[in-house]
Amino acid sequence: MCLSHGSGRGGAHGNAVGLGENMKHVISVLVDNEPGVLSRVSGLFSGRGFNIESLNVAETLDPTVSRMTLVTFGNDQIIEQIIKQLNKLVNVIKVLDLTGSDFVDREMALIKVSAKAASRAEVLRIVDIFRGQVVDVSSTSYTLEITGNDRKIQAVIDLLSPIGIMEIVRTGKVAIARHRKTGAKTEKEQEESFE
C-alpha cells in the first residue's frame, strides 16, 4: 500500500540544512477505537502534506483501544511535527516512534505465482528456504504466504519474478518494541499506565 503524496514535505524541505536526512520511521500510535479515528489520522497526513508509506490498524487487548502502525519518512523536523500533530488529536492516546529503539517488525505478502510443470518444484524450494507456506494450489499456480521484514519479502519477490508473479497483496508493516532489552512496557502494562 502506498499512500505517499507527491508534493509531500519530504520533497519540499528534504535537504534543508541542519534538519537531518530524510529517513523512514515506524510510528506506533494508540488511539480510541471509535468510528472516524482512522480518517482523523489519514486526514492529518494528507492535509499537512506528510507522507504515509503504509498504515495498519487493529484492536489491542483493550477493545476500546486500537493500535496503528504507520511507516512514514521525513527529516527530523518533519518527524517531530508528525509526532506532535498526532499527539494533538483528541483521540490519540499515545505515540511511540519505534525507529531508533529496538523493535521487531513484520509484514506479510500473499503472492500468486505462476507454477507450470517446469517451475513447480523451484517455487516450492523458494517457499521452503524462506519459511513461507503454500496456502492455495491450482494446476497452473501457487498462492504463497510469506512473512518477514520488508527485505525478506523483497528477496522472495525478486526470486519469484522471473518465474511469473500473477498477483501480489501486501500488508503494511506491524511492529512491536522489544521487551527486556529496552525496558519498554508491554501493551498490557502501557494500557494500565493510562489509568
Partner: protein
C-alpha cells in the same frame, strides 16, 4: 425524570453558563427550537440571516468576552455554511461550540434531504468534533465539547445531532468531571526550561519580545507588561497580539512582519535573544524563514507543542500556558540579584529609537482627497475623546485591516477582533455584532472595506432586529484594495478583476435595512460623520470615499526577508 435530547441540550448549556446563542432554525433542529421557546428567559437566541454570520458572531462574542461562543444550525447547508466560520475560529484559536442538526440516524448515509457529512466536512477545521448517536451520551459529549473548546489552545468544536437523538429521552445527569485519556493540555512549563530561558533573557544585550495572540487568550497582558518593564525589553506583537501590550508604551515597537513597522522588523532582525510568547512564527510574520532573526537565540513559549519548531527552530522551547509561565519568570526575576537592565539595554533601545525616527509610519495627507489612514486616526482621536478609548474595533480583511493594525493604538486586550490566520473577508461585521451582544454598553466599530462589507452585509437585519448599535466605517475605494496593491506592485499594474464597477449606495442600503447611513467624501467631513455616528443608538454605516491609489506600507513582499521592506 427523563428529559428529551433537546431539553438535555439546553440544560447542558445552562450548566456551562451559556446564556447567549446565535443560530438559524431548520427541519433537523425543529425540536431544539421548540424547546428553546420554553427557555427564552434563560437562553437568549439571536436569529441571524446566514449561518456564516452566526459563527462569526459567536466568534466575536468569544474573542471580546473570553467566554465560549455557541451556535445552533440545521443539517446540510446549515452546517456547511458554518465551515468558513469554523476555519476562521480554528486558525485564531477561538473557543466555540457549534451544534448542528443532522438527519435521523437511520437515514445517515442515505443522501437524505439536507444531509451532509458534517463531521467529515468539519474535521480539518475544528479542534474536535462529535456525532452523537445515543441520547444517553449527549450530556457527557456536550461536557467534553466545552472542555475541549476552552482549554489548552482553544478552538471550535462541532457537535452533530441527529434528529431522532434530539427527540429521544434519557435521564439527565450533567457530569461534573470528565476524563479523556487522549487530551490533557500542558499548563505548567518545565521548571528547568523556564530557568534556562530566564538566564538567557537576563544575559541578552539586545533582547526582544515577540508576542502573539496567546498573550490575550491566556490573559497574560499584565505579566507581559511587568516582565518587559522590569527587564527593559522592547516588545513587538503580531496582528493577533495587538492589545496584549499597551500600544502607547515606550517599549512598544508596533506590529512586525509583512506590514510591520520598520523598527519592529529591524529589531527582529538584529536582536540577540528573541522571546516568542504565544506566537507561532506565521509566514506573514517571518517572511523568508532563512533570513528571519538570524543572529538570535530563540525562546519559544506556547501552549501548543505543534507551534514550536514548526517553521523556526527553538533554542529553548517551553510548552505551557503563557500566563502561568510568565508568572514563573517574574518569580525568577525577583530571586535574581537586581540588575540595571535599563542601563544594559540603553544602547539597544537607542538604536531602536533611531530606526523609529528613520522610517515611522506615515502617509501623505490630502486636502481634497480623503486618505484611509486619516479616517482611522480620526476614529481613534474621537473615540479617545468621547469614550475615553473604551471601544472595541473589529476589521474585515485587506488594506482596512492592515491600516487599522498600523494606525489605531490598541491599549487593552480583546479590543481588536480580526481574522488573522484565515484572513476571512466578511468576518468583521458579524464579529462586531457578537461583541456588541457581549458588551451592550460599549461602542463597537467595524473598520471595513467596500469589498469585505458586502460579504456579510445581510447581518445588518440582525443588528437592526435586536437594536445592536454597531458602527461600520467603510473605507470605500470602489475596489479590492489589497489585491489591487499586489497587482500594482507585482503584476505591472494589470488590475485583473479588482475594480468594482457597481457598488451599492451604502447610505441608501443602511436606510433600507432600517439603520442609519452617513457619508464623507472630503477630509473635513470625517469628524462630523464620526461624531454623529457615535451619538446614534442604532447601527450606522459611515461611508468614507477614500483614495483608491493608497497602498499599505511598509511592505515586505511575500517570501522576502524582513529587511527587504518597501517603504514608500
Amino acid at each position: 425524570m427523563k428529559k428529551t435530547g433537546a431539553e438535555i441540550l439546553i440544560e447542558s448549556l445552562r450548566h456551562e453558563g451559556v446564556d447567549t446563542v446565535f443560530g438559524y432554525p431548520g427541519g433537523a433542529v425543529l425540536n431544539i427550537y421548540d424547546t428553546l421557546m420554553n427557555y427564552s428567559e434563560e437562553v437568549r437566541h439571536f436569529l441571524v440571516r446566514h449561518e456564516q454570520g452566526a459563527v462569526h458572531m459567536a466568534d466575536g462574542y468569544a474573542r471580546s468576552s473570553g467566554k465560549v461562543g455557541v451556535c445552533i444550525v440545521t443539517s446540510g447547508p446549515g452546517a456547511t455554511n458554518t465551515v468558513t466560520g469554523l476555519a476562521t475560529a480554528y486558525m485564531d484559536s477561538t473557543p466555540l461550540v457549534v451544534f448542528a442538526g443532522q438527519v435521523p440516524t437511520l437515514l445517515i448515509g442515505n443522501d437524505a434531504f439536507q444531509e451532509a457529512d458534517t463531521v467529515g466536512i468539519t474535521r480539518p477545521c475544528t479542534k474536535h468534533n462529535y456525532l452523537v448517536k445515543d441520547v444517553n451520551s449527549l450530556a457527557s459529549t456536550i461536557k467534553q465539547a466545552f472542555h475541549i473548546a476552552r482549554t489548552g489552545r482553544p478552538g471550535p468544536v462541532v457537535v452533530d445531532l441527529p434528529k431522532d437523538v434530539i427527540a429521544d429521552s434519557a435521564e439527565f445527569n450533567y457530569p461534573s468531571k470528565i476524563k479523556m485519556r487522549g487530551y490533557n493540555p500542558t499548563y505548567q512549563g518545565h521548571a528547568g526550561q523556564i530557568k534556562k530561558a530566564f538566564k538567557l533573557l537576563a544575559q541578552a544585550q539586545k533582547p526582544l519580545i515577540y508576542a502573539g495572540g496567546g498573550v490575550i487568550i491566556s490573559g497574560a497582558h499584565k505579566e507581559l507588561l511587568a516582565l518587559a518593564q522590569k527587564m527593559s525589553i522592547p516588545v513587538t506583537t503580531t496582528l493577533m497580539g495587538l492589545g496584549g501590550f499597551p500600544g502607547n508604551h515606550p517599549l512598544f515597537l508596533g506590529m512586525l512582519g509583512m506590514h510591520g513597522t520598520f523598527r519592529a522588523n529591524m529589531a527582529t532582525t538584529h536582536c540577540d535573544v528573541l522571546f516568542a510568547v504565544g506566537a507561532r512564527f506565521d509566514d506573514r510574520v517571518t517572511g523568508k524563514v532563512e533570513s528571519f532573526s538570524p543572529h538570535s537565540q530563540k525562546i519559544h513559549l506556547d501552549i501548543d507543542p505543534t507551534s514550536i519548531a514548526k517553521s523556526v527552530p527553538a533554542d529553548i522551547p517551553i510548552v505551557g500556558d503563557v500566563k502561568t509561565v510568565l508568572k514563573e519568570m517574574l518569580k525568577e526575576l525577583e530571586e535574581e540579584p537586581l540588575q540595571d537592565y535599563g542601563r544594559a539595554h540603553a544602547g539597544w533601545l537607542k538604536q531602536i529609537g533611531e530606526w523609529g525616527q528613520m522610517s515611522p509610519l506615515s502617509y501623505k495627507a490630502g486636502v481634497q482627497c480623503l486618505k484611509p489612514q486619516f479616517v482611522i486616526q480620526k476614529i481613534q482621536q474621537i473615540t479617545d475623546e468621547v469614550l475615553n478609548g473604551d471601544v472595541i474595533i473589529t476589521t474585515e480583511v485587506g488594506q482596512n485591516q492592515m491600516w487599522t493594525a498600523q494606525f489605531f493604538t490598541f491599549k487593552r486586550p480583546r479590543t481588536l477582533l480580526t481574522s488573522g490566520g484565515l484572513g476571512t473577508m466578511g468576518f468583521g461585521f458579524p464579529a462586531a455584532i457578537g461583541a456588541q451582544v457581549a458588551f451592550p454598553e460599549k461602542t463597537v466599530i467595524d473598520i471595513a472595506g467596500d469589498g469585505s462589507i458586502q460579504m456579510n452585509i445581510q447581518e445588518m437585519a440582525t443588528a437592526v432586529q435586536y437594536g445592536l448599535p454597531v458602527k461600520i466605517a467603510i473605507l470605500n475605494n470602489q475596489c479590492l484594495g489589497m489585491v489591487r496593491q499586489w497587482q500594482q506592485l507585482f503584476c505591472d499594474r494589470r488590475y485583473s478583476q479588482t475594480v468594482f464597477e457597481a457598488v451599492p449606495d451604502f447610505v441608501k442600503l443602511a436606510d433600507a435595512y432600517g439603520a442609519v447611513g452617513l457619508r464623507a467624501t472630503k477630509p473635513d467631513e470625517v469628524e462630523p460623520v464620526i461624531r454623529q455616528a457615535l451619538s446614534i443608538r442604532k447601527p450606522v454605516i459611515m461611508d468614507f470615499w477614500v483614495d483608491r491609489n493608497e497602498c499599505v506600507y511598509p511592505m515586505v513582499p511575500a517570501g522576502a526577508a524582513l529587511t527587504e521592506m518597501l517603504l514608500v
